[in-house]
């Protein structure tokens, strides 16, 4: 095992603004794409993955401290934004782990340029339409009060809490969380958290793919995840018990070894 280097936050100049990237560890690079609620600092999942990999965890434009990028206002634009960034940072063909909305983004990247992705891990990912037109596939926590919002995210909301924006929050954190929610709407409001065309394009993915799901995800169900996995050639589906929408946060000790084994494996 390579020795992990200390994590650092980088504000990388980008156009007229900045891109926030959390970096840590050493070894082969793995690109982590966050979900609609953003990164909550250097998280345990980052630290654990950094034991084996160089972790690269950007905040998407508009999230965290990353500024919006002119012209980047859809998931389509974000996918091309990351394809450019991956090329610039010499990550291609990349190992990508995408969580929630970040999983959707990873899939959009992989269907556009299949050779740009070598390993793909989708964790409780949104992005496709599965059910009939009168059934929402993805829950809408953004209109809920804090308690039901938390209940939608966690298997055990008494043991875990997402940093939802609230009046007592430290202002820098509050601003970042408000920007996360705003940007989740910006990219994902309509059609809500999916691209109607994505499912029919998933067959293009060439990366070896692992689909991981919290067995108790109440925001987007495991059966949705099974359809996601079945739509990607050769993808494996693994369910993690006693975890909700964030298996990497609720059960990192279960999630991380699984991810590491998969990311290290040869074809």
């Amino acid at each position: 095992m390579a020795e992990a280097t200390a994590p650092r936050d980088l504000l990388r100049p980008h156009g007229d603004g900045e891109l926030e990237i959390r970096l840590g560890g050493q070894g082969p690079e793995v690109l982590l794409l966050h979900g609609s609620h953003g990164w909550w600092g250097w998280e345990p999942v980052h630290e654990l993955l950094a034991a084996e990999f160089s972790v690269i965890a950007p905040s998407h434009p508009g999230f965290g401290r990353s500024t919006r990028v002119p012209g980047v206002d859809t998931m389509d634009d974000l996918a091309y934004f990351y394809l450019d960034l991956m090329a610039e940072m010499r990550l291609t063909p990349a190992r990508i782990v995408g969580f929630g909305l970040g999983g959707w983004l990873a899939a959009e990247i992989a269907v556009r340029t299949p050779d740009a992705v070598d390993r793909l891990v989708l964790v409780d990912s949104v992005g496709i339409k599965v059910s009939d037109r009168e059934t929402l596939d993805v829950g809408d926590p953004f209109v809920l009060a804090a308690d039901p919002h938390q209940a939608m995210l966690w298997h055990d909301p008494t043991a875990h809490q997402a940093p939802l924006p609230h009046p007592g929050m430290e202002p820098t954190m509050l601003e970042a969380m408000l920007r996360n929610h705003e940007s989740a709407m910006y990219y994902g409001f309509k059609p809500y958290m999916h691209n109607p065309k994505l499912k029919q394009r998933l067959h293009r993915i060439k990366a070896r793919t692992l689909v991981v799901w919290g067995a108790d995800d109440r925001l987007v169900t495991p059966s949705y995840g099974e359809v996601f996995a079945a739509s990607i050639p050769g993808a494996q589906f693994v369910s993690i018990p006693e975890a909700g929408h964030y298996p990497h946060r609720e059960r990192p000790e279960a999630f991380v070894p699984l991810a590491i084994d998969f990311l290290r494996s040869t074809r």
């Binding site: 206002d73 953004f142 924006p165 009046p167 408000l178 989740a184 709407m185 409001f189």
Partner: protein, 388 residues
């Protein structure tokens, strides 16, 4: 000072139990609505507007969607009825929710037709729509500002262009825009814009439009007006007169203060409705800066007592003499248009009209032709600016 009659056309017949989980907006089941009652209400509210015309008041209309608090779902329908059934009143549409109207050319056509039918009595207000409008229209809340501005630009261009033109913007695309009819008022009806945070006030000032605020205190409204004034000064534009500032307040006039302060409390119904935070303030709808200010507790006039709301000028209630005094305070702050929510919740026609008549006969003559005042806004402390 011009005064406008306004009702949200509420459907007030629901119980606290029906209201408690989600409030009366967006998700209250429409099983609550009885069309037999609703038909009577629509006709009665329209009759009240005709009565306002007869009393010499102007008219203001608005629209909302999927809510029991306001059953006017289309300004062009209510204004269409009133354009024919009234004779003299200005009809202020406040306003068309531009981000949520998917065809701006259709908005331009409808307002132009109303302006013709009414022979130039239309005031064309444009609004971004409150947060609860995001879900009925399913408009991306984070895009409402830019959709508002592009739609506005297209509508103005459509009204002021005398030949077909093309529009290939971000949100709207047309090869041939050619609005028939032309507006009756030229180059187009007066434009009014609403605002409740500093986010869009400079934009309103840039265009020298009339700026309307709803249910704000004397001081909070003045702070927003001063942002407008400062902006026009910076741009070297004319000092904005009373025609540029409008306020909406709840109003109930009684024979005596005691009578108005007793039965007139009914006017608070609108403020007392349950507000669902997720629908009222969806993420992305307000800027992050404004969200942070809301979270710091600045946006709480609704919890106020009747007495406090009167002191702040959010509720105008009392004898004619008392209400005249309250309105003069608005006048002294440079306001030229007073939008009066004369009806709220279950207030019936008799009660509403009693107050309207007292207003028209005993209040309006005292305030209608007040001499212009010089507002000494430079001496007001800019650090006190709302949300600044």
């Amino acid at each position: 000072m011009l005064a406008y009659h306004f009702t949200e056309m509420p459907y007030p017949f629901f119980s606290p139990e029906q209201e408690k989980d989600g409030g009366p907006r967006v998700i209250m089941p429409n099983s609550t609505f009885d069309p037999q009652i609703g038909a009577d209400l629509y006709n009665r509210y329209l009759d009240d507007y005709i009565y306002a015309d007869e009393l010499g008041l102007e008219i203001m209309l608005n629209e909302h969607h999927q809510t029991a608090t306001c059953t006017d779902v289309c300004l062009s329908i209510s204004a269409g009825a009133l354009a024919r059934q009234t004779r003299r009143a200005k009809i202020c549409l406040l306003g068309n929710p531009l981000p949520h109207r998917d065809n701006p050319v259709r908005v331009a056509e409808e307002v132009a037709m109303l302006d013709n039918v009414s022979r130039g009595r239309i005031i064309s207000g444009f609004v971004r729509g409150v947060g609860t409008e995001v879900h009925p229209a399913n408009t991306n809340p984070a895009l409402t500002r830019e959709r508002f501005e592009e739609s506005h630009d297209l509508i103005i261009k459509a009204w002021t262009t005398r030949e077909p033109f093309a529009w290939e913007g971000k949100h709207w695309h047309y090869r041939y825009v050619n609005v028939w009819p032309r507006t009756y008022q030229q180059p187009h009806p007066p434009i009014w814009i609403t605002g409740t945070s500093p986010d869009n006030v400079p934009w309103i000032a840039d265009h020298e439009y009339t700026f309307a605020v709803f249910l704000l205190s004397y001081d909070d409204a003045t702070r927003l007006f001063n942002i407008y004034r400062r902006r026009t000064e910076e741009l070297g534009l004319a000092e904005p007169g009373p025609d540029k500032f409008a306020v909406l307040a709840l109003c109930y006039v009684g024979e005596t203060d005691e009578e108005a302060w007793d039965e007139g409390r009914a006017i608070q119904w609108y403020l007392q409705r349950v507000r669902h935070p997720g629908f009222t303030n969806p993420p992305g709808f307000n800027s992050v800066r404004t969200q942070m200010m809301i979270m710091s507790g600045i946006d709480k006039p609704r919890g106020d007592s009747f007495e406090s709301l009167r002191e702040k000028g959010i509720i105008l209630a009392g004898s004619p003499k008392t209400v005249v005094k309250q309105i003069k305070e608005w006048h002294n702050r440079g306001v030229g248009h007073l939008l009066l929510m004369n009806q709220s919740g279950p207030m019936d026609a008799a009660m509403t009209r009693k107050s309207m008549k007292l207003f028209a006969e005993e209040v309006y003559p005292e305030i209608k032709d007040l001499p212009a005042v010089e507002v000494d806004w430079h001496s007001m402390d800019p650090s006190q600016a709302l949300f600044a």
